[in-house]
Subunit: 463 residues, 2 copies
């Protein structure tokens, strides 16, 4: 262990953690800074130390020590969270699970498996590929499965495959006092008692530390077909998707890029797409089924003013067609050299999506901001990528006002202040606005009873 | 209000409830007996009175009165629960929501809607039909949506459409003290705070009273095709289904009837099916897609020893093919004249399904019992319908021993003591066996904090 014990961490717990973990426990400032922020979140909140457990038992021991000394615990994985989940505003010990990276079980016949929380999405899919299996939830970043569970992540495949909430069969959780519990099981469904799995999924580390995740797995589709289509306006794109979903066409992914994002992608990826709203679609199934789905999408798109419908089932062509979408984040970053990208998401009923996106676009433009919009249009979930000059406080402030209005509008039509990023530190005041005092009081009561001393990721979700 | 106030209900709360509800509050023994048992559950536990609220506000007022006087509240709907959920072992007021039967909102474009808790599954689908929509969860009985939510019901369509847990966007819940909260919202997905919706779904009325349910809806499929197939043994049937699911074929329903159930159906419905294990399948989609799915199923079935594969997309033929499955319950009841049918379910990983069903079949036969087996084979969920002579205590006892062993075997392979019926009164001691002391202590802590005086459906889920 390093010797520069942080101000707020006493020697007794620091020594106990060092005895437990050896050089997998550190108070070095450089390491603490790595776990003080996360992506996109602007403020630094240093933990007092960082611990790297290798097993659930070690996490339990860490919790026992922290609990005995009243020390905050801040779990983390790949650090790709966007809402400051891994920052440590109350100090304490950052518990990073990235060394718990083993795929423990895969059951081909049952399409399930168990991973340690630190396994990344890409590592899991790499390991599954040879078995003809995959795990479909894809939030973009190469996040860990534990982090994806903790934030209730979803992403581009959610229209067809659901979110982390629908694809987790069970969890191993370490509670604040070190108790290890197992939720769920190997049954595909169960009506036995309270659904603790879904309670911990999306709890953002505030109730316990997820150390293992039991997942549903899927067979790799026989054919993956991709399509793109250009629209004069967003309304036509949304109508196309609404009709597809209503007809029960099992679209796997359907992504929207607005004209500003397309312009950014053209510049970044050297493309010459028409600088208008685009839909990017993906279909999974047999060759016949995917061809039929693509035909149906083309027909509906034409009926809604779509043009230049292209589709393919070759992998190479698919990658070419989807290139703009895959690089959307980097293109946004490059849009304004020197800027930092601050990204946020809301989710609205699909019938309100056009209005919601148009309103925020007008607001962005009226405030002289640079901010492309991309969306998981099948869910009504969209992201604004604010490119902000870090030295321009006024720009940040204007962006924050646009952001507040975007969230208010989403909630006013029955939507959510976050479809998939979580509450973290940034959206705590929106939680009550969205759910009402009564529901949030119920959430607080649960937090209070399961973490009575507020040691688990304190300061997150609740103000 | 009726005058024969029950022993355990004081005049003060009875008068207050009568003032609130008029003749929608009763203490008549005949009415109390209707809410003392539910289906299949053998013992009678009378509530002291029955209340029939018309609005969420009235439910809140009832809760306020009951809470003020420390009176137990036992919510109910159609009374089709199988595990004694609506029985009142602690007396109190049965709160029956069947008069709250309005479909409040349907949003065609967003594929969602809100129903009051007392709307039945069939009434909802009747109302949706003209809009080209349907709600897929089908537990067999014409249950209410509130009851289906409270027990985390699923049924035959779950392979493709999921369970109540995946098809509810939000709830209105009356808490024990009368506080009304709203969970979820109209967004298709949200990462905003704890998932209270999934906490109340499956809580069996022990945390609060569900008064409104916000549902996902679906477009009626263009084509519904049905198929049946005969197998020499269950293993071939299970292998067929496993391969179908692995290949990503989106089977909508896949049901298994064992040879005893087929014999019962032949007698009841005057059929001449081979008295061997059968699979009943249903496919939803375009004419091309359903035909392709059926062809694939036929091919896989043949490879696994299946024969006599029949399929059709005509409604009339479909009803003929599926007749045996639709009437399975009545056929089981008729199997042994004078007997009562006691039905229970377990859920196991699909790879253990053959062994689990064969073991219970041998156990049934070795004990001289009459009990057909039907299953939602795509989920590993199966039901045993014990036909028991009510005057033969020994038979009941032998059935209970078979039942205990079936559950123990399910849990020993990572399965669940109930896939879709719930815990109720019958399976309380299995809850700890399945989830462990730690997880059940966590459930109890949540119960304690949300219902500190144990007024909500006391005696259910927990021993």
């Amino acid at each position: 262990m390093d010797v520069d014990v942080a101000d707020r961490l006493d020697h007794a717990p620091a020594d106990a953690l060092a005895r437990l973990l050896g050089d997998r426990f550190t108070t070095r400032v450089g390491m603490r800074e790595q776990y003080g922020r996360g992506e996109s979140y602007p403020h630094l909140h240093l933990p007092d130390a960082v611990a790297f457990p290798m097993t659930t038992q070690e996490v339990s021991e860490i919790a026992r020590i922290c609990s005995a000394h009243g020390i905050a615990m801040v779990p983390s994985g790949a650090g790709t969270s966007l809402e400051g989940h891994i920052a440590a505003p109350h100090g304490g010990v950052a518990i990073n699970l990235s060394k718990m990276d083993r795929v423990l079980e895969v059951h081909d016949g049952d399409l399930d498996g168990i991973v340690e929380a630190g396994v990344t999405r890409e590592a899991l899919n790499h390991e599954l590929r040879d078995r003809g299996l995959f795990f479909p939830i894809d939030p973009g970043a190469n996040a860990t499965l534990g982090g994806m569970a903790a934030t209730r992540a979803s992403g581009t495949n959610a229209v067809r495959y659901g979110t982390m909430a629908t694809n987790i069969l069970g969890l191993t959780v370490v509670q604040p006092d070190g108790t290890i519990i197992h939720t769920g099981g190997r049954a595909r469904k169960s009506a036995a008692g309270y659904d603790l799995t879904r309670l911990y999924v999306g709890s953002e580390g505030t109730l316990g530390i997820i150390t293992q995740v039991r997942l549903r797995l899927y067979g790799i589709p026989e054919t993956i077909a991709a399509a793109t289509c250009v629209f004069d306006d967003l309304a036509g794109a949304v109508a196309t998707v609404t009709e597809l979903v209503q007809l029960g066409v099992p679209v796997a992914r359907v992504e929207f890029l607005d004209d500003v994002q397309v312009r950014a992608c053209n510049a970044w990826s050297h493309l010459d797409l028409p600088e208008k709203p685009h839909l990017f679609l993906e279909f999974h199934g047999s060759p016949t089924a995917t061809a039929e789905q693509a035909d149906m999408a083309a027909m509906l798109a034409r009926g809604n003013g779509g043009s230049d419908f292209q589709w393919t089932s070759s992998t190479e062509e698919r990658n070419r067609l989807w290139k703009a979408r895959h690089n959307a984040y980097f293109a946004a970053v490059a849009l304004k050299p020197g800027a930092g990208v601050w990204t946020s998401d809301v989710c609205v009923p699909v019938s309100h999506l056009s209005d919601a996106v148009l309103a925020v676009r007008q607001d962005i433009d009226a405030n002289g901001l640079t901010a492309p919009i991309v969306g998981h249009v099948g869910d009504g979930n969209f992201h604004v990528l604010f490119a902000i000059d870090p030295d321009d406080a006024g720009e940040r402030e204007r962006a924050e006002q646009v952001y507040e209005r975007m969230i208010d509008r989403a909630i006013s039509v029955g939507g959510s202040c976050t479809g998939e990023h979580g509450i973290g530190l940034m959206k705590r005041h929106h939680l009550v606005h969205e759910h009402g005092e009564g529901a949030v009081a119920t959430m607080r009561a649960i937090k209070q009873v399961l973490d009575p001393r507020n040691l688990m990721n304190p300061g997150k979700i609740f103000l």
